[in-house]
Amino acid sequence: MKKQTKYLIITVVAFFILIILSDALFVVSEMNQVIITQFGQPMGDAITKAGLHVKMPFIQKANFFEKRWLEWDGAANQIPTKDKKYIWVDTYARWRIEEPLTFFQRVFDERGAQSRLDDIIDGETRNIVASYDLIELVRSTNRTFDITEELEFILDKEEIRKINTGREKIAEMILSKSSEITKEVGIELRDVRIKRINYVDEVQQKVFDRMISERQRIAAKYRSEGDGRAAEISGQKERELKKIQSEAYRQVQEIRGKADAEATKIYAQAYNRDPEFYQFMKTLETYRKIMDQKTWLILSTEAEFLKYLKKTSK
């Protein structure tokens, strides 16, 4: 019996020591940081070093917080820009618990923090977006678009005007304004960024209409360019045709003229020896040609050829 009691006591004592140890020792992982509270009263700085740590059992409590960067993704907000265009703006940010103690006191936990961040960042986003034109939110540089020159005239000058601030700077502004406030609750905010910007449905319909008319203008331009170019080619064809034909005509006439002149010269040289004889010869030749079977020849006896019909004297 005595031996059994001794065993029992040892077991009970071991059990109590185990319970005490399990509450006194706690593991802080790489991902966490811990604030020790004593009856709700924060004790000392946050424990950020990973490893095994000790606290007063039962009296003190370990409150675990994230050490890593955390995400915040706000709901999309419908905001009018300065140029009265209604858009949805969706931002995201990352944040971490910089001062766990302040964080613990002001917002208590992550849920509280998320809702505080919603209020702060959404509010600042609204304020800043509303004081800029849409183009400033969309573009981040003033680079000129690579545009095929045909499209140059199509582009709406209003839509591609220069920006002064740009998306990145606007996001930075939201960040710096917001992080001033989040500092007060022990949160370090970094990189607020605009994730999505979209038109509100009614505006979107108008944008689609504009895009359609823009494309139709481009199509019309292509068509008229096709017609114009075709007419130009057709004109070129006419011009060259006339040129070819007239040049050929000129050459033909020149060649023939020269030949005629040459022939005339040759004839003149020959016939000038006796023009009267030429006339005689040519006339005889012509008689041969023009008098055929159907010709009625009425001859007088006075004709030289017939004079011997009447008399034989000389």
Binding site: S29, E30, A50, F145, E240, I255, W296, L297, S300, E302
Partner: protein, 325 residues
Amino acid sequence: MANDFPSMEFKMPKINPKYVKMGVAAVVVIILIASSVYQIQPEEAGIILRLGKFVRTTNPGLHVKIPGIEKVLKVPVQRQLKMEFGFRTADPGIRTEYRTTQNTEKESVMLTGDLNVVVTEWIVQYRIKDPYEYLFKIRDVDYTFRCMTEAVVREIVGDNSVDEVITIGRSRIALQAQQELQKMCDLYEIGIRVSQLIFQDVNPPDPVKPSFNEVNEALQEKERKINEAWSDYNQIIPKAEGEAEQAIRASEGYATERVNNAQGDSQRFIDVYREYSRSPLVTRKRLYLEAIEEILPNIDTKIIFDEAQKNILPLLNFGKKEAEK
């Protein structure tokens, strides 16, 4: 209900306590071994935490850890990971099926620098470069990486015109987005290396699509009209050139003929004249009579009247011969 079960009586078999002890010891040993040996797959890296503290990284293979004290986190560092934006692969396979939902639509619609709207679908392929950063620097890496990618792609698309995004600038924009995203990953220390960012499909929004097609059609129509005009040109001009050449050659032929004829005629005349000038009178008569001799036999109707009797002409019955025929 319990009554439904047949009652049973268990009889504990008698077992030697020595065997019980051995059995318990064996179970304990097996549990110890099982919890101290771990395997890292070929594509993974093992991150060992000793009481929450990072102590080492282990490579693929079989390893030992202190049971209960050390904990293993496995990160697939060699695996090529992929994220889809604007669509989701519903059923990967030989004929992969895709689907889009309202959520993915929200991912894909974005504004261009000329304040137009495009619908973009893209993927990002990445690897976990640094498991330590991946696990301990940021909590929800996948979600954050998603947000980052969307923000970067929109920022760059927002700085390009709709035509650049849809056609000419596509690959440049993808590359630029990839580089920007990598920069951001390094800044955020999320331990990711972006391998590739690829635009799968970039389109104008559905209501606008027909007018974009219209532009293509108009462009083709333009090409067609120009080609037709050129083909007409090419049909007519060479033909005209040929005809011109023909006319010139023909005129050259005429010239040669004309000159040769002139030379021939004049030579003939000169030759005849030479003989004629020796005895002009008789030659003249001979030529005349020869001509008459040649002409008269061919003429059917020959009327000869005397110069003294002037009234013969009216008696002639012109046309009589014609009537008889």
